[in-house]
Symmetry: C2
């Protein structure tokens, strides 16, 4: 398939104005025509959330040859749904890129991440979806390596057979080191670990207490070399294929006997 | 362990004022002392979302012997985090109940559900967590069966060994039929299926277009008798054990070769 015929949908969770989003658009434009709908404001940590009780306002923010960009007053998943079930409902989308996220989505962050929420949602519509994240939260992060490896990974995915691409969802995390120091790409499994929150407590101007989330990630298996967290700490781009069957098959025998 | 010694945490996603939340409190109180933090407003479809860029205001809404209830201006997962990492940080929580949700969380809804987001979060803290949902969205839903089966399932779980209970997470859905017509409890796997959205488009009073999510769930395997959706359609209470490793191990060989 030539780039002329390919349609790529782009979104993110940091909002359409985030520098990382521009990097995702740049990558996407190398491979086809691009339509993008991104949240109007930051939606970090919005997971797979959908907006049920509020209307969604859509605004065109950019249009040029081969590129349309819109902002939506919703979550990343709302953006994907509006694209696939409304705006592009009569077209075939060949790829979804979500990102490039400012911050890591390794390990259990795949569950909290709006970037990955959108990528997972994209894969529900059958096409391959790539969530791209850089382990640097700052606005002026250096996306050189994310751009280079993102491009390389997208190119490889698009060369896969239709069956290999169908519903494929990738959680790609790029370590925050100079591009030339990256050791390569490592296909990994999701690291086990959890967040420990250290709530910040303060009072508003009227003396009312409020809390603010301020946590740290705890890797439960730092010595395992097949995890995404290990890969990132050791200079690799971590690629975890993601699926959505959350059934804990190993627990079934206990439950079948306990709930008889 | 006697009920006097047991500490149970309760939350939901419909907000502390929802009738289903009262049912969850009733169930919990039969098994121990109860502390509850529930969202101040509805958080349906909020998934595993966390609130990063806003302060969280906590308010006590009820206190009596063996029961404390608070509302929080955050997501269901925020409620769990504030409970485990702040309010109850020095105590051992024995069980989390999330719900009872007004509406089904079967199949892929486990990913979108704020009820299940909270239950999953609870299991991260080591204790067993039960998400309870009734397949009826209405405010005046009949929770008789949900109450009865919720109680029965909680009792069975608490009888399990410490190892069986550790990190256990259950997605329990109760069909919207009279309690006496329920066929029993069925331990199931998560049904494969997706939502197809049919966006409602309208204009605000100033002529600006807006969209509103309005979808329908599509069961991709209606004939499979081992899924939660099948169980619900056939009059069973569906219990799916949930785990959080989203790695798609089956895709690894393709990726390892494609990304070489």
């Amino acid at each position: 398939m030539s780039n002329k015929d390919r349609l790529i949908f782009v979104t993110n969770d940091d909002g359409f104005a985030a520098p990382g989003f521009q990097v995702a658009l740049d990558i996407a434009r190398e491979f086809g025509r691009v339509v993008a709908i991104a949240p109007a404001t930051t939606q970090s940590g919005r997971s797979q959330a959908i907006t049920i009780y509020d209307p969604l306002f859509l605004e065109e923010v950019r249009r040029e040859e081969g590129l349309e960009v819109y902002s939506l007053t919703g979550t990343p998943v709302d953006c994907v749904k509006l694209a696939f079930d409304y705006m592009l409902a009569d077209e075939k989308v060949d790829l979804v890129i979500s990102g490039v996220n400012h911050g890591s989505n390794g390990g259990v962050n795949v569950l909290y991440s709006g970037t990955m929420g959108a990528a997972i949602e994209g894969s529900f519509y059958g096409c391959p979806s790539v969530g791209l994240s850089l382990t640097d939260h700052s606005t002026d992060a250096d996306f050189t390596a994310a751009r280079e490896y993102g491009r390389r990974i997208v190119a490889s995915i698009l060369e896969g057979s239709e069956e290999e691409r169908r519903n494929l969802c990738l959680n790609v995390n790029v370590p925050n080191i100079p591009a030339q120091d990256i050791q390569g790409i490592k296909v990994c499994r999701q690291c086990r670990g959890v967040w420990h929150e250290d709530f910040y407590r303060h009072e508003d101007p009227r003396g009312k207490a409020y809390f603010w989330l301020k946590g740290g990630f705890c890797n439960n298996e730092p010595a395992s070399e097949d995890t995404d967290e290990w890969a990132l700490l050791n200079g690799y781009v971590a690629v975890v294929p993601v699926q959505v069957d959350m059934t804990d098959y190993g627990r079934m025998p206990f439950l079948q006997s306990a709930l008889k």
